[in-house]
Point group: C2
């Protein structure tokens, strides 16, 4: 069956549904008042308790969205996706919380706070340039937000060694502490200072679902004290690496690009990307390409082509052999280079605002 | 050999010296400008790097003393001893830090912060009544002091699971977090805000030495960032329980008394204490008592008789059979009841000040 928004590794997703209790998102899409591009295209393929968010959206009741970034580098398509999801829910009426996870960057990636502060300013400028409204939203650094640190202290008593080892492996205590702080991030929107318990949606990539399970577990353990509503999530697929492997790697610069690259390196990376093409033009015209395994198609479909019909057309043109990889790459490169140029222009105007929000001199 | 200030379980102490690197304190006593009662009587029997403190005392250089209390109840002779040690060093010129370990009370003893706050006010009033000078010293609660929480985050990366399991056993993550905060307590006096690195002495009971090893280990790991001087300690003996067993238990109210009891219960507890006496008066007069195993003698010697000669006389009078247990108990009871009455009177005048220091409404 041809499906422009299908996924190649369905068995794995079924395992998530069956073993871990992630629900398929597809049945809900038609009920969402204005579904986002990620929802319409099944990039958001799963959820936990999203019904609660849907209810709040439909009835115009208070709800929150919470996500963030680990300030270890520049925005790339993965962080772009999460940021856009936060902004989408903010525009649908959510109180928005965006966390700069500098404690996690320190504990997990050994990035000193002085260094992550620099990345943080750029990351927040990206977020603002993408449309986050700081007036109705809250942007903060973990290291400066006492509320999340104090929640970590409270939650500590509910986090057994067995649980954290199962989720995070055998790590130093700082890593476990940063996991507790992350649970604090997810539940802070429900504190009295933010008008108390409320449905909260956390957009996550599928590999981050365990963090959400941990936060939900703690929400249940401390429900009596805080009356927490269990946090909900939307779960999105992982992006492929530009070399076609299943997950991009921050360590390999050719496996992905950032929103702060020059047109030259962007073009170079995309033109050198793996595709779903055939060994020869003749073969490709005869058999068609395989968009399901193609990172260039994924860039269109996940991120950079707004119009669904255009994506669907690209899918079928590739499948039928009408669209060859060279042409496709040139087109996608043009779209991305334009997007990145425009974004960088907007972003540069938000640097001062980002410094102000983060209270950085 | 008769030794009024001797200890019964010397083998155990030798093990501490040999295996764990605690040094005997006795050779240093004569070098201390004004040795405290605990030093003179070998109640402080060990130390780590106390030479560094001695040097600072002799040369009138900056040094600090740091200790604290877990706010889980009223002051008892054990916490009295630590408080007096802090006050002693403050009077010898140290910058004094006294920590109310409410995070530890929460993580280790499940005491909610609302409850430990009440104990904290009383504990701090006790400290002030005993002579701590808040003008030249710093009293704080862990839960309210961001500097110790932030040090815990920094130190987290240096605390392996193996280390914390060896010291604290297999516990929930909150307990390990409170251990990191405790290391923060011990090293906070060396932060720039408190005029930077300096020798710091931490008076501890012998069973708390592992915490000090942990803090010294972290001080070494983060020396490059903070230029920490390895913290020093004085190590004091554990008090016997009133029933004669080796360690008092907070759970058994007859095993100890607090500084907030009535003359009636104090008298009752001391008169019912175990002693080093013989089964019959006749036997005791003939053989003498055994002060080394007697908690009543220990109360005199450790805490409540200021005059060394008087303690030495009591020791020999007991040993020789001249002093019988009834008379000794009556005398000690009288001393303690008077001490506690006077203390309670002073303490009541410090409650408001304690509230002010802890910022409690």
């Amino acid at each position: 069956m041809l499906d422009p928004f299908g996924q190649t590794v369905v068995e794995d997703y079924n395992k998530l549904y069956e073993e871990f209790g992630i629900q398929p998102f597809e049945p809900l899409v038609s009920q969402v008042p204005k579904p986002s591009m990620y929802m319409r295209r099944n990039v958001i393929f799963g959820h936990r308790d999203f019904d609660r968010i849907l209810e709040a959206m439909k009835k115009h009741e208070t709800f929150a969205v919470m996500s963030g970034i680990k300030p270890t580098g520049e925005f790339h398509p993965g962080t772009l996706m999460t940021a856009r999801e936060v902004i989408y829910f903010q525009q649908q009426g959510a109180k928005a919380f965006y966390c700069v996870a500098d404690v996690e960057a320190y504990e997990d990636n050994r990035i000193p706070f002085e260094r992550s502060e620099k990345y943080a300013v750029g990351n927040v400028a990206d977020l603002l340039a993408l449309g986050f409204d700081p007036k109705s939203g809250c942007i903060y650094r973990q290291s400066k937000e006492n509320r999340v640190k104090d929640l970590a202290i409270i939650f500590g008593r509910g986090a057994t060694l067995a649980t954290v080892k199962a989720i995070y492996g055998e790590r130093h205590i700082g890593l476990y502490l940063s996991a507790l702080i992350q649970a604090g991030d997810i539940l802070m929107p429900q504190l009295e200072e933010f008008d108390g318990p409320k449905p909260t949606v956390v957009p996550v990539a599928v590999d981050q679902d365990p963090h959400l399970r941990f936060a939900r577990d703690l929400a249940a353990k401390f429900r009596r004290k805080y009356n927490f509503v269990p946090p909900s999530s939307t779960v999105h697929r992982l992006m492929k690496s530009l070399d076609g492997s299943p997950k991009m790697s921050k360590r390999d610069p050719m496996s992905h690009f950032t929103l702060n690259e020059t047109p030259k390196t962007l073009t170079n990376k995309i033109l050198n990307a793996f595709t779903g093409g055939r060994p020869t033009v003749e073969e490709q015209k005869r058999l068609g390409g395989i968009p399901e395994i193609c990172p260039v198609y994924e860039l269109d479909m996940y991120h950079f082509v707004e119009d669904d019909d255009q994506v669907i057309k690209t899918y079928h043109d590739c499948r039928s052999g009408r669209l060859l990889c060279g042409e496709h790459k040139a087109r996608t490169t043009e779209i991305i280079v334009k997007f990145v140029k425009d974004h960088q222009k907007r972003r540069s105007r938000y640097i001062d605002k980002a410094r102000e929000i983060l209270n950085v001199a």
